[in-house]
Amino acid sequence: MKRIGVFVCHCGTNIANTVHCDQVAEVAKDFPGVVYSCDYKYMCAEPGQQLIQDAVREHNLDGYVVAACSPRMHEPTFRKCAERAGLNPYMIEQVNIREQCSWVHADKEKGTEKSIDLLRMAVAKARKNEPLSSSTIPVTKRALVIGAGIAGIQTAIDIADNGFQVTLLDREHSIGGRMAQVDKTFPTLDCSACILTPKMVEAAQHPNIEMVTYAEVTAVDGFVGNFDVTIRKKARYVDFDKCTGCGACQEKCPKKVSSEFEMGLGPRKAIYVPFPQAVPNKPVIDAEHCRYLLDGKCGVCKKICPTEAVDYEQKDEVIVERYGSIVVATGFDQFDISKYEEYGAGRYPDVITGLHLERLMNASGPTAGKIKRPSDGKVPEKIVFIKCVGSRDEAKGRPYCSKACCMYVAKHATLIKEKMPQSKSYIFYMDVRTGGKSYEEFYKRTQEQYDGQYIRGRVSKIFQVGDKLIVRGEDSLIGRPVEIEADLVVLAAGMEPRADAVALARTLGISYDQHGWYTEAHPKLQPIETHTAGIYLAGVCQGPKDIPESVAQASAAAVKATGLLSKGELTSEAMIAECNEAVCAGCGLCISVCPYKAIEKKKVSERVHGQMKERVVAVVNPGLCQGCGACTVNCPSSAMNINGFTNEQILAEVDALCQR
């Protein structure tokens, strides 16, 4: 029989006012297992804790119960006090007779009676406490960053600066992501490449960063501290050690292909570097278009390559690497504007998106920075911008606001006025959202100094007449329909999760919302973590945001990731599930309800009628289990139990509370 001590706290007058603490302590003496019981003014204070420690030694207690405030507040305190007294911290219980008793019941008799019941419950539970300890799991001191846009690059740099190895992985063959396609950035109008490329170079040259581009994650096994990630490196057909990046092959390659990077507005070759500042700045052969790889003809690039770097025999390579933590920074796709037939998107070449305009304005873009109409190359006079295309629109399944469009439309209007003073920009809007530092001032300047005409209203239809685009809408401020003959229409297409975002989420085992944005652990207090320990989020993959926020999240994700790695080992929760293998039938009902995928199956062998037989049982991974207890209820044979909240303990509590 365990020797239990009972310590009833007065909490000054907070408890003593409406509970006879002395009477409670007195009655507790008769509870089975209680060998010492006293009450004192301030249990949590130094003298109180000293009193406890003395009593533990003097009466050689196995555990004790403190009747005081809420365990949510001082359970850690009394656990540390137990440790100092030489007890296992999980041998103690704290019962709440303050917030849930003395403060809420004025009647002193009833308050005392309830305190006695609650104390009897806690003693009944304490008698079934067992010493617990959290186990430690080794952590591989290496991080993986999936997606190498500005968020991924910033995360990788911060992790690397903290002295940890990090792999920066991207599906494209160069890092840079969306931001590389952007010409200028708001509100400073810095040239995007000028602020991005130094970071790309820094990432490329950082000793702690291993860049793995043109590669995809195909499987993630293991758990926090020990993720085994299977990576498929797509064949480049160019040996990067030999290639010097001279670009001769790109000139001579006969096969022209529409460049995805240029949003289809310009050509690229079958062997290509997507944009001049690409990192790594070496070409890759596009297997779907290269004549040699398709039907064995040509081979020009191999012939003229001075360092014989071209190697058609290269195959995809699959590697498995172990990482301690993973940061997901996979960015976004632009909303597919062809879903708006009413705007003629996809039919009229001059109805383009913001990113198309970025490429047209970009000096290294298809039109070397001159804004020309994709249809006939003429310089447009009147340009119409339409905002909230594929955002704030339930009909199209995109109810959310994409946050950055208002600012980049204002930026476009400003830049166009600067480049072509005689042009005129009309911007159809519902609202203008300028929620960033000096955003509002930037927007004011667009209206006042750059003659951006903002029309509050929706556009109902766009149709082509001759070489003009008739934009029919309404101006709700003056309540009249509006019609503009435009030379160019720019739709502010919203942000969408990557097409394969859900597939990656399933591979990683993280959750996602109904649109496909990855779900953070808590929308307000844990925007970086996910419910899967060791996996963090950065950038737009977690939801629409602009570059400053993405960079901020990137650095935050880096701190979270390195925080995990710096400890070298992970202490698991102590109050977690445990499977009684003798009773477990291996039915797997527990696995289906575990939110953390913390339960695996393992084979055990045992003697049955003299022969060794193998059977499957469930086993709990201490690194992942958070002790929620869902498995214990779904397990009919109650083989699963939670240490610290065992079935036997809760039954003892129910019995103690129901005593008459």
Binding site: S70, C628, T632, I642
Partner: protein, 149 residues
């Protein structure tokens, strides 16, 4: 054995004994907040702290009725708020069935309640507890499923 132990059974000053299972992250915190705000409510509900409402096994509810509880409350976070992300979704399904099964067995629905009470809904905690105490006091002691020793 001191007098406080044996409870008087006379009708009008009989007090119901209600067992509550409160999830540590939401309802228990809500109850604490009710205490911090010095709200007043009848002393009949005593909470057993569980890590998640998903830890509350229907067999605990049956055990409470068997050992003489007059009513049982199972309370946890609102679906979506669960600290363990999916705990209360399973609680919701299981107790939608259990609630109907208990009613089917003849237990008065007012004697078993499952409610979502978040960490900030202290007034709601007080109201649920008060309402339950008053209703059950009117109903009288629970004889059903009770163990006679």
């Amino acid at each position: 054995m001191s007098t406080v132990e044996d409870k008087k059974q006379t009708a009008q000053d009989w007090e119901p004994n209600i067992v509550g299972f409160a999830c540590n992250w939401c309802t228990y915190a809500g109850a604490d907040l009710a205490g911090l705000s010095r709200m007043q409510y009848p002393p009949n509900v005593k909470l057993i702290r569980v890590p998640c409402s998903g830890r509350t096994n229907p067999q605990f509810v049956l055990r409470a009725f068997q050992k003489g509880a007059d009513a049982v409350l199972v309370a946890g976070c609102h679906p979506g708020d669960c600290h363990y992300s999916t705990g209360n979704y399973f609680t919701r399904r299981r107790y939608l069935l259990m609630q109907r099964l208990l009613e089917y067995m003849g237990i008065d629905p007012r004697r078993f309640q499952a409610r979502w009470i978040s960490g900030s809904e202290a007034p709601k905690f007080r109201d649920v507890v008060t309402q339950m105490s008053e209703e059950v006091k009117a109903l009288g002691p629970n004889k059903k499923l009770r163990e006679e020793l």
